[in-house]
Amino acid sequence: MSLGLLFKDEVNGFYRSKVMIALLVGMPVIAVLMYLLSPDLGGMPLAAFTAVTISSMAGLLASTTLSVSIINERTQGVYDLFLVRPVKRSHLLVAKYLAVVACVVAAAVLALLVASAYDWSVQGTVYLGELGQPTLVVMTMACVSCAVAVLVGTLVRSVLLGVILTIYGGNQLSAVIVLTSLENVVSTETSALIGLVLAAVVLASSVVLFSRKVSS
C-alpha cells in the first residue's frame, strides 16, 4: 500500500519541480534550436535528432536531481517521519526511483511526439517506426543512471560529491551499456535488457545498504 502511495506522491513532487519543467519544455526547445542551428544533418528528421539529444540530457538531469534529493532528504532527517510509520525502507527508495524514471520517460515521449509533429508539418511524414530504438535507449540510460543516483544518494552525505559521482558514475555507466548496441556488439534490445538488469542490481544494493544504515 505504501509503495503506491509514495510513488504517486513522488511523481506529484517531481512533476512540480523545476527539473521537470526543464525536461518538458527545455528538452524539446533545445532539440529544435540545435536542429535549426546545425549546418548539416544529412536530412535527419527532427524526431530522430531529438531522440539523440534527449538520450544524453534526460538521464543526466534526472539522475543528478535524484541523488541530490536523496542526499538532502536523508541528511535533513525527512525520512525519519516516514520510518516511524508502517513504511518499508525499500519503498522510500523504489518509489522515488520509479517516479523519476516515469517522469523522464514521459518527458522523452512528449519531446519525441512534438518533434514528430514538426516533421509531419514540414515533410508530411512521420518516422514513428524509427523512434522505437531511440526511445529504448533513453529508457535504458535513464534507468541505469537513476539507479546509480539512488546508490550515490544512499551512500554519500556531500551534495557536491554526490553530483560528481552521479554524473561520472551514472551517466558514463549508462553510456557504456548503450554503446554496446551503437557499436553493434549487441542489439538495442539486448543492451536495454543488460541495462535494466544492471539497474535492478544497483537499486537492490542501494535498498540493502539503506536498510543496513538504518538511520536516515
Binding site: D9, G13, D80, L81, V84, R85, P86, V214
Partner: protein, 317 residues
Amino acid sequence: MVKRGEQMEAIIIEDLVKRYGQFTAVDRATLRVDEGTVYGLIGPNGAGKSTIIRSLLGLIPYQGGKVIVSGTDMSTPDAQRKVRVGYLPQKAAFQEWRTCEQALLTLGRLSGLEGERLRTRVDEVLDQLGLEEHRKRRVSKLSGGTLQKLGFAQAMLHEPSVLVLDEPMASLDPASRFMFKKIIKDLRASGTTILFSSHILSDVEDLADDVGLLQNGKARYSGPIDGLERMVSLRSELVVELADDRGEWRSVSVPGTDIRQPSPGWLVVHIDDAAQWDVLASRIVEALMKAGCHIRAFNRHDPKLEDVYMAYVGGAK
C-alpha cells in the same frame, strides 16, 4: 503493555547499548515509562538522549538490550505496524515542495488515516497549532518555529498512544512554548504516554511526572523528580535580604542551621532537617532581628530541577 505494580508500562528500555565504532553512546541504559504519564529525559549534550530516542523508535539499530513500546519489541521488522507512535525530531524536516496540508495528508495516509477522518484530523491539528494560515504555504517558505509546529502537528495527527518528542521546544518563542506545553498537558489528560527530551529544565519540571537523567550514555536516575532531589540531598534555603548590613548576623547561631553570606546584603540559611523548617525559619528570623539586623525581605527557596541537575551533573554527587 507490561504491568509494574498497578501501573502499566508503555515504554521499557532495558540495558540498551548503542555503539558508534569504538564510542559507546548508550551504555546499558534502563528506563521505564508508565502508561499515560509524561517522562522527561534530561542530560548534558552528548549524554545519549537523541540516541535513546532514535533506538526507541527503531530508527537506528542497537547492539544490546531491548526496547519495548506498548508491548511490542521495536527491533522486530514490522513493529511500526503494531504500535502507533508519534515522533517529533529536534528539527522537523519535510520535502520542500510540499505545502503544510500536503505533508500532513501524506503522513496521515501512511499512518492509516483515510477520507473524511483524515481531512478532519488535518483540520484539527492545523487549528490546534495555529497553522491554518500556513495551510497552503510551501514547507520551504516556513520559519523554523512554524516548521517545528508542523512537526508537532504530524506527530499527533494519527492520535498515537505513545508520543516521542526530541527537544520539542528548543527553537520556539515563549508563546509557542506555552502552546506546546498546553497541548502536551491536554494529551496527557487524554491518556497519551509522552516521552520528551529537553534542555529547558523548567519545562521538564512543569510537565514531567517522571524524569530520566543521562550522563555519558548511562542512565543515572529514572523516577519521580523528588526522588532525584533526594539523591543529591539539596536542602531548602531561607534567603534573607538585609536593609543595612553591618555584620550583626555573624553573632547569630541557631542549632541545625548554617548561615552564609553569598553577597553583601544577602544571607542564605541552610536548614539541615527539612521537617524542622517551619520552626527553625522563624527562630532564625527572630534571632537576626534580636541581633540588630534590619530585614527587608525573606523568602523560602526550594531546590529546582535545575539546581538538582547542576548538583548532579556538575559533580556534587
